[in-house]
Amino acid sequence: MNIVKYPFLFLFLLPGIFAWGQRISGVENYAINRPGVVMIRTEYSANVYVNSMKMDNKQFNALLDSIQRLDQAGGVAAEQKLDIVLREMNNNPSRFFQTTFDYIKQSEQITAIGTGFFLTGDGYVATNCHLIERDNAFIRRQFILTAFQQITDASIAALESSWATTFTEQQRSLLYNTYASVYSRLFSMILYGLKKNVYVVYRSDREDKGPGTEKKPASVVGKGQPMPGKDVAILKIDTDHEMPVLTLADSSLPRVGEQLFVYGYPGPVTNNDFLAAESAIEPTLTTGIVSAVKNSVGGWPLIQMDANINHGSSGGPVCNEKGEVVGLTTFGSLENTGGLAAGLNFAVPVAILDEYLDSAGVKPQLSKSSRLYAQGVEFFDQGHYRAALGKFQEVKKLNSTYPRLYIYIEDCKSRIKRGMDHYSGPIERVLIIVVLLLGVAALLAWRGVRLNRRRP
């Protein structure tokens, strides 16, 4: 142990002490907040009954007869025949497709995925209302469109298989139009038994098994209305552990130009085929600034921000440079063409969430495990691995499945073993205080001597 370095160590810690509650780096922001970020899944299920269809072989043969006659006249190349058939089917679908009295029953499931975060250690979660409650007409349309797409895809694949051909993109597009026309004009689709379940999915690690995920059914304990209403919801899950929690900022609005850290599960990442399934639970962190503070049509404020956001990020925490939640990612803007207007997104401020927390009687509070974990991360980042290990071991007692905890514990042990720990135990801390007090006493004594000398 090198005693001489402790006063310097104390000097290094001073900025940290003064910076408490002040700015933290993006790395710290992620390390502290990531464990409390969760995925919200609203699973809708229903049976879709689709009027089955049959191709009219008689009409089909008649068409082929016509083509054959053209062929005999020497006017049709072999590769043109398929195009002619598909064009004719598109021009006059009712001639080739017949309604039957059979219905295909398709059990459908549509999942609305978004983001949320823990407000309390006992399992209260904040998210957007539109994730858990969309109007029935919208959901029914989603089911019908999904059923149409699946049946069309299956029909085209079946045609390709039994006609022993592979359609070109142009032919495929023509067939899509044909089936769209068939299903919208000739056949019916009926939706029956629509059900909804809301789940909170979060990372749950185990020392022996590594990273894992937990999916818990959630009940809705408070909610506003989807935009243009106050688009927030409070969920509750039952949990045996003390959950990781994010800290809410006070109700004042962030200032334009302030930096923001946005957590979410953007669909293009969640659905990316090149990524392993277990990575889906890792949230994406994007950054931006407060671009404007606007008012909603309802008269309450909204935070405009330029952070890169996509489908799946709704309900995610928008944090400031102190790591506190200032809002919830909620909606974005569209270009005239209908495409997403990048970097023109909006968050509902935390003050709106506060209203619903009050009415639901939920008091957001940093859990003990989160506080200890944050202290552990701070010690770890400063190289005090022994002190960090102590904190992480305490977190383990409260929640052994805390995300990334076992990784930190292993890292601490390994670094201590390699002699990398900048040890700062209780004895050293006492020594630092003694040195500091002696310094202050010496300063006061010196000033006293000087004052005495000046007196006549």
Partner: protein, 41 residues
Amino acid sequence: MTSSRYVFFTNFNKRQPLKKMVRFITTVTRITAMTAQRLYS
């Protein structure tokens, strides 16, 4: 006429079609397939 210019950031995931339905459609299409062979004759 103006249309809505906002979008909610919800990711809608849809389950793949059931095998039963695909089998049904394949059967229906196969009836026509016998006729369709004439396309290549």
